[in-house]
Subunit: 218 residues, 2 copies
Amino acid sequence: MTLSEEDYIKAIYHLGKGENTTVSTNAVAEQMDTKPSSVTDMVKKLSEKGVANYKPYKGVSLTEYGQKIALSLVRKHRLWEVFLVEKLDFSWDEVHEVAEQLEHIKSEKLVDQLDKHLGFPQVDPHGDPIPSKKGEFKKAIKKLLNEVPIGKSGICVGVKDSSPPFLKFLDKNKIALGDTILVLDKEEFDGSIDIQIKERTIHISSQIATNLYLKITE
Amino acid sequence: MTLSEEDYIKAIYHLGKGENTTVSTNAVAEQMDTKPSSVTDMVKKLSEKGVANYKPYKGVSLTEYGQKIALSLVRKHRLWEVFLVEKLDFSWDEVHEVAEQLEHIKSEKLVDQLDKHLGFPQVDPHGDPIPSKKGEFKKAIKKLLNEVPIGKSGICVGVKDSSPPFLKFLDKNKIALGDTILVLDKEEFDGSIDIQIKERTIHISSQIATNLYLKITE
DNA sequence: ACAAATATTTAGCTTTGTCTAAAATTATTT
DNA sequence: AAATAATTTTAGACAAAGCTAAATATTTGT
Ligand SMILES: [Mn+2]
Ligand SMILES: [Mn+2]
Ligand SMILES: [Mn+2]
Ligand SMILES: [Mn+2]
């Protein structure tokens, strides 16, 4: 697969949320920051290669084979992200762009050894699970912060939005993966909430609460 | 620079042996495993970009800017080779192919941090020097084994040919960088020599002797 | 010095991946 | 059930990087 084909496969995979959903040409175009006509051309090619199922005007999905490729790419992307943070002192908002390049390096041994070097990590710096070599991974039971009822608490295990602005916001407000968060109060009107985190009590907007994953503890 | 442009720049650099020599279209074509006509097209483009000086029928050389790029690529290539050997347990005959890909990853921070992570190595697994961030490196005073006079000895510090077959040959014969080699005898007729290495006395062909670098000790 | 051999460039074609503009299909309103 | 709007595809073009075959320049041998 070429670099470009691989990025399309990943886009289709992510838009389908990991399940094997059919996604629209326009959606892929938006995700990839290209034009719908370019997507049409590419998905035709992917279809011919046995990577995708494409029905004109109906959308595109990945074949079994395509999903395997997607999972391998996701695995590589996330392992590199762990490497950058753990070994090269990158912060979690800097890794995506570089991993986007590194994920395309072709060498099975490289990935296997990297995995070993990192101690077979289960999640990437954003809390996203790392597929095994065979493409398996258990998706964690986690809840968005805005769905956690008042009085319940949990451990922060992931972010839904992993864009640099959001990640930097969390850094600035000293919210990190692993922290325990208790929901104190919720404001119906704007969806904002009060939380307790590490002795501090802070008020958090709906935009933040809908992008933080917790693993409920009690 | 695109991946392809970068590979051409590296090829021109290596053919010019690091000095800023003018090299021929055919030489570049052979090195890159492409056709001379493709090289002509590319060097024209590199010339327009200010990376190379190209005179039709006369050959091509790198500009100052082009040399900077070349040195940065060599730096990245060799740092990645060190990483693969030191951290991921690759053997020295497996690293080149992967480094050939990794050298094109764009991220200044990545290179700086990798350098630090590796403890600022001075040479790659084949004994080749790693340019500093500014593009400087001292070239070691080393001699090819076939040029070492009888009775002199030295430490094995590098290989001229770093192709897998040659490197595997060295592994098989337990000759590694760092080993001390004493020249016992030379055969004028075929250039073969007798050496002593780690208590062993072995006979070595001219092809091997002309591809092993020693740093003379006495 | 000239012919032959070699090296290099040019011209024209191919593939990949992209784009714009126009045409076709599907979805949504009234 | 049309009419309108939105989505998607097609047609045609372009840039990058490569190739083959033909033309041109340079080098070499006599
Ligand atoms: Mn990518
Ligand atoms: Mn991630
Ligand atoms: Mn390369
Ligand atoms: Mn090397």
